[in-house]
């Protein structure tokens, strides 16, 4: 990493859109080239800033989806229908156009191969993004840390990174899907929300001291974290990242 020992100010940098990848009907990945990128760790995020012609600006945070790869930084963005920033990123921005970005940000919800495992990743919807960065980092490093991803989506069409996860499985990576709302014919995996029983079946035992990372909507992460603690895991062994409001 080309970062300096004494952290300087994170400045706004120009990022050029290279490519857009359609992941699901509501989710796209935007591949950016950031010539000044100082490097990042899996799990970190960036701030994105848009500026209107009259100077009005809006900022949002997005998780980094990619492993460290030179000046390439990919973000996976869920289009929020009433969103101020996400519809522009997913549908309006064209290759060659630039946005401003600042990062990487966050030093807690991060994982590097040297941190070891076993790694237990629990994703709800687009919460899979920072966890995918961990899986990609592990793969890029040729690391074989025992890693399990329990990934809850609504329907088969909502599964982000489906093919790549299948491709990366093996070498110590196990991917288990839960589909809560609808399942394809012949579905044999979980067909309900993540609960304590499911976590007990999928996660390593407390004796194996797994490192939990869970990211997703607030009620999802609340339920996962409660279940993990109830199963006897150390509450400091689970790192969480929540988005959206509390459940009603």
């Amino acid at each position: 990493m080309a970062g300096t020992a004494v952290p300087g100010r994170l400045t706004w940098e120009l990022a050029e859109l290279v490519e857009v990848i359609v992941e699901t009907p509501h989710v796209k990945t935007i591949v950016l080239d950031v010539p000044s990128w100082p490097g990042h760790r899996a799990g970190q995020h960036v701030d994105v800033r848009l500026t209107a012609a009259d100077g009005y600006q809006a900022e949002r945070s997005y998780s980094i989806a990619s492993a460290l790869d030179g000046t390439r930084v990919t973000l996976t963005v869920q289009r929020l229908e009433d969103g101020e920033v996400s519809p522009y990123l997913t549908d309006e921005l064209r290759p060659g156009e630039k946005i401003e970005l600042r990062g990487p940000i966050g030093g807690y919800f991060v994982w590097e191969p040297s941190d070891g495992g076993p790694l237990m990743l629990v994703a709800g919807g687009s919460g899979v993004v920072p966890l995918m960065a961990m899986i990609r980092t592990r793969a890029a490093a040729g690391d074989d840390t025992e890693t399990r991803l329990l990934y809850s989506s609504r329907t088969p069409d909502d599964v982000i990174y489906r093919d790549e996860l299948e491709l990366l499985s093996g070498n110590g990576l196990t991917v288990v899907h839960a589909l809560t709302d609808s399942q394809p014919p012949g579905w044999t995996s979980y067909a309900r929300r993540v609960d304590a029983e499911m976590l007990a079946e999928v996660a390593p035992s407390p004796a194996e001291r797994p490192r939990f990372y869970s990211c997703g909507p607030t009620p999802f992460v609340e339920a996962v974290a409660e279940a993990v603690v109830r199963l006897g895991h150390d509450s400091l062994a689970i790192k969480t990242e929540r988005f959206g409001p509390t459940g009603r």
Binding site: Y88, K98, G106, F109, E222, E226, S235, R242
Partner: protein
């Protein structure tokens, strides 16, 4: 690091969605107004029973202070209406809390400490100069919107320090530790700014 881009790049065709019903002077730079109440926590939500709960002031003072839940709730409290600003970009206006002023808790305490760390169930800590939580600037709150504070939002009691980004308002707070020197807390040692003034947009280290 290369110099900051001289002029922000204009995003072709993007207009943004400006709040028309909000005085822009109330919104710190880079923030947007939300009507939801998002939750940000680094770990599981702790659940401490009120029988086991207490609030302490420890560290740089002659003798530590401690209140049980009942003693704490017997202290004079007040209703506080403030705007709150999360480092994750959302601001929520006119939030209404009920709580005990830190000034009440510190009454009669002699300390040479100039810094304070809020500490919580679950191990969370956050630091500020003592002068930033005294003089009507901070409260230990136990109700939000007229209801007991939900565990997800820091119940049974959390700090409210509305002049700073909201990570400086510790959820599940159990006490204040007074220090002679500044001791960076949880997010302050994980890439975030040590002081966290939203009006200066002090989000991250170096801002």
């Amino acid at each position: 690091m290369p110099p900051e881009a001289a002029k922000p790049v204009v995003s072709r065709g993007w207009r943004g969605r400006r709040s028309t019903d909000v005085d822009p002077a109330r919104i710190p730079p880079g923030q947007y107004v939300t009507r939801d109440f998002p939750v940000l926590s680094a770990g599981p939500t702790p659940h401490t029973s009120l029988e086991l709960w207490d609030f302490s002031i420890i560290g740089e003072l002659d003798s530590p202070r401690r209140w049980t839940w009942e003693e704490f709730r017997d202290l004079p409290s007040e209703e506080i209406t403030r705007d709150i600003h999360c480092v994750n970009k959302w601001s929520k206006l006119d939030t209404v809390w009920q709580g005990v002023s830190v000034d009440t808790l510190l009454e009669g305490i002699e300390t040479s400490g100039e810094y304070v760390t809020q500490y919580s169930d679950g191990g969370y800590t956050t630091n500020l100069p003592l002068e930033d939580i005294t003089g009507g600037k901070a409260w230990v709150v136990f109700a939000y919107g007229g209801e007991p504070l939900e565990p997800e939002h820091g119940g049974p009691a959390r700090m409210l320090v509305p002049r700073h980004y909201f990570w400086k308002s510790a959820k599940w707070v159990r006490g204040l530790r007074l220090y002679l020197s500044d001791e960076p807390g949880f997010w302050e040692t994980n890439g975030y700014h040590n002081y966290g003034d939203p009006w200066q947009e002090q989000r991250y280290q170096g801002d």
